[in-house]
Assembly symmetry: C2
Homo-oligomer: 99 residues x 2
DNA sequence: TGCTTTGTTCGGGTGTTATCGAACAACAGG
DNA sequence: CCTGTTGTTCGATAACACCCGAACAAAGCA
Protein backbone atom coordinates (compact mmCIF):
# COMPACT_ATOMS: atom_id res chain seq x y z
CA UNK A 1 0.00 0.00 0.00
CA UNK A 2 1.53 3.28 -1.11
CA UNK A 3 1.46 6.29 1.20
CA UNK A 4 -1.27 8.86 0.73
CA UNK A 5 -0.84 12.26 -0.83
CA UNK A 6 -1.53 15.11 1.54
CA UNK A 7 -2.08 18.64 0.26
CA UNK A 8 0.27 21.43 1.30
CA UNK A 9 -1.16 24.03 3.70
CA UNK A 10 -0.88 26.82 1.11
CA UNK A 11 -3.33 24.93 -1.05
CA UNK A 12 -6.02 24.44 1.59
CA UNK A 13 -9.27 25.99 0.40
CA UNK A 14 -11.59 27.51 2.97
CA UNK A 15 -14.78 26.36 1.29
CA UNK A 16 -13.40 22.85 0.93
CA UNK A 17 -12.42 22.69 4.60
CA UNK A 18 -15.77 24.08 5.72
CA UNK A 19 -17.65 21.63 3.53
CA UNK A 20 -15.59 18.77 4.94
CA UNK A 21 -16.46 19.83 8.48
CA UNK A 22 -20.13 20.46 7.71
CA UNK A 23 -21.09 16.83 8.13
CA UNK A 24 -22.03 15.23 11.45
CA UNK A 25 -20.11 12.02 10.81
CA UNK A 26 -16.93 13.87 9.89
CA UNK A 27 -17.29 16.28 12.77
CA UNK A 28 -17.50 13.26 15.07
CA UNK A 29 -14.29 11.93 13.57
CA UNK A 30 -12.51 15.23 14.07
CA UNK A 31 -13.67 15.57 17.66
CA UNK A 32 -12.64 12.02 18.40
CA UNK A 33 -9.19 12.58 16.94
CA UNK A 34 -8.80 15.64 19.11
CA UNK A 35 -9.38 13.50 22.20
CA UNK A 36 -7.28 10.48 21.35
CA UNK A 37 -4.60 12.02 19.15
CA UNK A 38 -4.36 9.21 16.67
CA UNK A 39 -6.76 6.48 15.64
CA UNK A 40 -7.30 4.01 12.87
CA UNK A 41 -10.52 3.74 10.92
CA UNK A 42 -11.86 0.66 12.65
CA UNK A 43 -11.88 2.18 16.11
CA UNK A 44 -13.99 5.03 14.78
CA UNK A 45 -16.63 2.92 13.14
CA UNK A 46 -19.84 3.14 15.08
CA UNK A 47 -22.86 1.91 13.25
CA UNK A 48 -21.61 2.97 9.84
CA UNK A 49 -20.15 0.54 7.35
CA UNK A 50 -16.49 0.59 6.46
CA UNK A 51 -17.06 1.98 2.99
CA UNK A 52 -18.83 5.05 4.37
CA UNK A 53 -16.05 5.68 6.84
CA UNK A 54 -13.41 5.29 4.19
CA UNK A 55 -15.18 7.94 2.16
CA UNK A 56 -15.33 10.40 5.07
CA UNK A 57 -11.66 9.92 5.83
CA UNK A 58 -10.86 10.59 2.21
CA UNK A 59 -12.79 13.87 2.28
CA UNK A 60 -11.05 14.96 5.48
CA UNK A 61 -7.65 13.95 4.15
CA UNK A 62 -8.02 15.70 0.79
CA UNK A 63 -9.22 18.91 2.43
CA UNK A 64 -6.12 18.94 4.64
CA UNK A 65 -7.81 18.35 7.97
CA UNK A 66 -6.08 15.09 8.80
CA UNK A 67 -3.14 13.00 7.75
CA UNK A 68 -3.08 9.24 7.37
CA UNK A 69 -0.02 7.24 8.28
CA UNK A 70 0.14 3.63 7.23
CA UNK A 71 1.50 1.16 9.72
CA UNK A 72 1.20 -2.40 8.65
CA UNK A 73 -2.40 -3.13 7.94
CA UNK A 74 -3.70 -0.16 9.88
CA UNK A 75 -4.18 3.41 8.74
CA UNK A 76 -3.50 5.80 11.59
CA UNK A 77 -5.19 9.18 11.34
CA UNK A 78 -4.40 12.38 13.19
CA UNK A 79 -5.36 16.03 12.90
CA UNK A 80 -3.06 18.41 11.04
CA UNK A 81 -3.43 21.01 13.75
CA UNK A 82 -0.35 23.14 13.13
CA UNK A 83 -0.82 23.22 9.39
CA UNK A 84 -4.49 24.06 9.64
CA UNK A 85 -3.73 26.80 12.14
CA UNK A 86 -1.03 28.16 9.90
CA UNK A 87 -3.46 28.54 7.02
CA UNK A 88 -6.66 29.34 8.97
CA UNK A 89 -5.67 30.66 12.39
CA UNK A 90 -8.20 29.90 15.08
CA UNK A 91 -10.58 27.98 12.86
CA UNK A 92 -10.01 24.50 14.21
CA UNK A 93 -9.95 25.72 17.79
CA UNK A 94 -13.27 27.50 17.32
CA UNK A 95 -14.84 24.40 15.86
CA UNK A 96 -13.45 22.03 18.46
CA UNK A 97 -14.69 24.23 21.29
CA UNK A 98 -18.15 24.68 19.80
CA UNK A 99 -21.16 22.98 21.38
CA UNK B 1 -44.45 41.91 4.14
CA UNK B 2 -44.20 40.32 7.57
CA UNK B 3 -40.89 40.36 9.40
CA UNK B 4 -38.66 37.31 9.16
CA UNK B 5 -38.16 34.75 11.86
CA UNK B 6 -34.61 34.59 13.14
CA UNK B 7 -33.41 31.63 15.20
CA UNK B 8 -32.20 32.18 18.76
CA UNK B 9 -28.45 31.76 19.32
CA UNK B 10 -28.98 28.72 21.58
CA UNK B 11 -30.48 26.91 18.62
CA UNK B 12 -27.67 27.58 16.15
CA UNK B 13 -26.30 24.28 14.88
CA UNK B 14 -22.62 24.04 14.04
CA UNK B 15 -23.07 21.81 11.01
CA UNK B 16 -25.79 24.10 9.68
CA UNK B 17 -23.62 27.19 10.09
CA UNK B 18 -20.62 25.49 8.49
CA UNK B 19 -22.69 24.27 5.60
CA UNK B 20 -24.06 27.77 5.07
CA UNK B 21 -20.54 29.18 4.96
CA UNK B 22 -19.18 26.42 2.74
CA UNK B 23 -20.36 28.07 -0.46
CA UNK B 24 -18.39 30.67 -2.38
CA UNK B 25 -21.39 32.87 -3.13
CA UNK B 26 -22.47 32.96 0.50
CA UNK B 27 -18.95 33.50 1.71
CA UNK B 28 -18.80 36.50 -0.59
CA UNK B 29 -21.99 37.84 0.94
CA UNK B 30 -20.66 37.42 4.46
CA UNK B 31 -17.37 39.11 3.63
CA UNK B 32 -19.18 41.95 1.93
CA UNK B 33 -21.45 42.47 4.92
CA UNK B 34 -18.42 42.59 7.17
CA UNK B 35 -17.09 45.51 5.13
CA UNK B 36 -20.23 47.55 4.66
CA UNK B 37 -22.17 46.63 7.79
CA UNK B 38 -25.57 46.50 6.21
CA UNK B 39 -26.75 45.94 2.66
CA UNK B 40 -29.85 45.00 0.77
CA UNK B 41 -29.99 42.14 -1.68
CA UNK B 42 -29.85 44.20 -4.85
CA UNK B 43 -26.52 45.82 -4.03
CA UNK B 44 -25.00 42.38 -3.58
CA UNK B 45 -26.17 40.96 -6.86
CA UNK B 46 -23.25 40.54 -9.19
CA UNK B 47 -23.92 38.37 -12.15
CA UNK B 48 -26.34 36.10 -10.32
CA UNK B 49 -30.09 36.32 -10.73
CA UNK B 50 -32.31 37.56 -7.94
CA UNK B 51 -33.76 34.15 -7.21
CA UNK B 52 -30.33 32.68 -6.54
CA UNK B 53 -29.45 35.50 -4.21
CA UNK B 54 -32.73 35.21 -2.38
CA UNK B 55 -31.96 31.55 -1.79
CA UNK B 56 -28.49 32.26 -0.38
CA UNK B 57 -29.83 34.92 1.95
CA UNK B 58 -32.44 32.49 3.18
CA UNK B 59 -29.79 29.88 3.99
CA UNK B 60 -27.67 32.43 5.82
CA UNK B 61 -30.66 33.78 7.71
CA UNK B 62 -32.00 30.41 8.81
CA UNK B 63 -28.59 29.30 10.00
CA UNK B 64 -28.31 32.40 12.19
CA UNK B 65 -25.48 34.09 10.35
CA UNK B 66 -27.36 37.22 9.36
CA UNK B 67 -30.50 39.08 10.18
CA UNK B 68 -32.84 40.75 7.70
CA UNK B 69 -34.59 43.98 8.56
CA UNK B 70 -37.38 45.17 6.31
CA UNK B 71 -37.50 48.83 5.51
CA UNK B 72 -40.08 49.74 2.95
CA UNK B 73 -39.42 47.72 -0.13
CA UNK B 74 -35.85 46.91 0.78
CA UNK B 75 -34.52 44.06 2.89
CA UNK B 76 -31.47 45.17 4.83
CA UNK B 77 -29.08 42.42 5.88
CA UNK B 78 -26.38 42.49 8.51
CA UNK B 79 -24.21 39.92 10.31
CA UNK B 80 -25.30 38.64 13.71
CA UNK B 81 -21.78 38.98 15.04
CA UNK B 82 -22.42 39.09 18.77
CA UNK B 83 -24.88 36.25 18.70
CA UNK B 84 -22.66 34.08 16.56
CA UNK B 85 -19.73 34.79 18.81
CA UNK B 86 -21.80 33.98 21.86
CA UNK B 87 -22.63 30.56 20.48
CA UNK B 88 -19.41 29.80 18.58
CA UNK B 89 -16.64 31.98 20.00
CA UNK B 90 -13.99 32.87 17.46
CA UNK B 91 -15.60 31.09 14.55
CA UNK B 92 -16.70 34.07 12.51
CA UNK B 93 -13.46 35.91 13.17
CA UNK B 94 -11.44 32.95 11.97
CA UNK B 95 -13.47 32.69 8.80
CA UNK B 96 -13.43 36.41 8.06
CA UNK B 97 -9.67 36.55 8.46
CA UNK B 98 -9.01 33.48 6.34
CA UNK B 99 -7.44 33.82 2.89
C1' DT C 1 -55.53 53.29 -9.92
C1' DG C 2 -51.42 52.10 -12.54
C1' DC C 3 -46.31 51.79 -12.58
C1' DT C 4 -41.81 50.82 -10.68
C1' DT C 5 -38.73 48.75 -7.48
C1' DT C 6 -37.37 45.01 -4.55
C1' DG C 7 -37.52 40.29 -3.27
C1' DT C 8 -39.89 35.90 -2.71
C1' DT C 9 -41.84 31.66 -4.41
C1' DC C 10 -42.44 28.05 -7.70
C1' DG C 11 -40.96 24.53 -10.94
C1' DG C 12 -37.71 21.97 -13.34
C1' DG C 13 -33.16 20.73 -14.75
C1' DT C 14 -28.54 19.53 -13.33
C1' DG C 15 -24.81 18.18 -10.66
C1' DT C 16 -22.90 16.72 -6.30
C1' DT C 17 -22.82 14.04 -2.17
C1' DA C 18 -24.09 10.34 1.11
C1' DT C 19 -24.86 5.59 1.78
C1' DC C 20 -24.14 0.80 1.60
C1' DG C 21 -23.12 -4.01 -0.01
C1' DA C 22 -19.88 -6.65 -2.46
C1' DA C 23 -15.61 -7.47 -4.36
C1' DC C 24 -10.79 -6.54 -4.10
C1' DA C 25 -5.90 -5.58 -2.18
C1' DA C 26 -2.28 -5.45 1.30
C1' DC C 27 -0.26 -7.08 5.17
C1' DA C 28 0.64 -10.12 9.35
C1' DG C 29 0.65 -14.51 11.77
C1' DG C 30 0.26 -19.29 12.09
C1' DC D 1 0.47 -20.97 1.76
C1' DC D 2 -3.87 -19.97 4.15
C1' DT D 3 -6.45 -17.23 6.94
C1' DG D 4 -8.00 -13.19 9.37
C1' DT D 5 -7.75 -8.21 9.79
C1' DT D 6 -7.99 -3.67 7.85
C1' DG D 7 -9.34 -0.52 4.40
C1' DT D 8 -10.13 0.77 -0.39
C1' DT D 9 -12.70 0.62 -4.69
C1' DC D 10 -16.71 -0.13 -7.42
C1' DG D 11 -21.50 0.37 -8.71
C1' DA D 12 -26.02 1.68 -7.79
C1' DT D 13 -29.43 4.36 -5.50
C1' DA D 14 -31.27 8.12 -3.09
C1' DA D 15 -31.06 12.58 -1.14
C1' DC D 16 -29.69 16.99 -1.36
C1' DA D 17 -28.15 21.52 -3.18
C1' DC D 18 -27.44 24.86 -6.64
C1' DC D 19 -29.17 27.44 -10.50
C1' DC D 20 -32.21 30.13 -13.10
C1' DG D 21 -36.42 31.89 -15.53
C1' DA D 22 -41.10 33.13 -14.75
C1' DA D 23 -44.78 34.38 -12.03
C1' DC D 24 -46.19 36.54 -7.86
C1' DA D 25 -46.42 39.89 -3.76
C1' DA D 26 -45.67 44.12 -1.19
C1' DA D 27 -44.66 48.86 -0.85
C1' DG D 28 -44.00 53.56 -2.58
C1' DC D 29 -45.26 57.04 -5.73
C1' DA D 30 -47.28 59.60 -9.61
Amino acid sequence: MAAYDHPAPETFELTVVLRALADPARLDIVRHLERVGEANCATLIGTRPKSSMSHHFQVLRESGILRTRIEGVQHRNSLRREELDERFPGLLAAILSAP
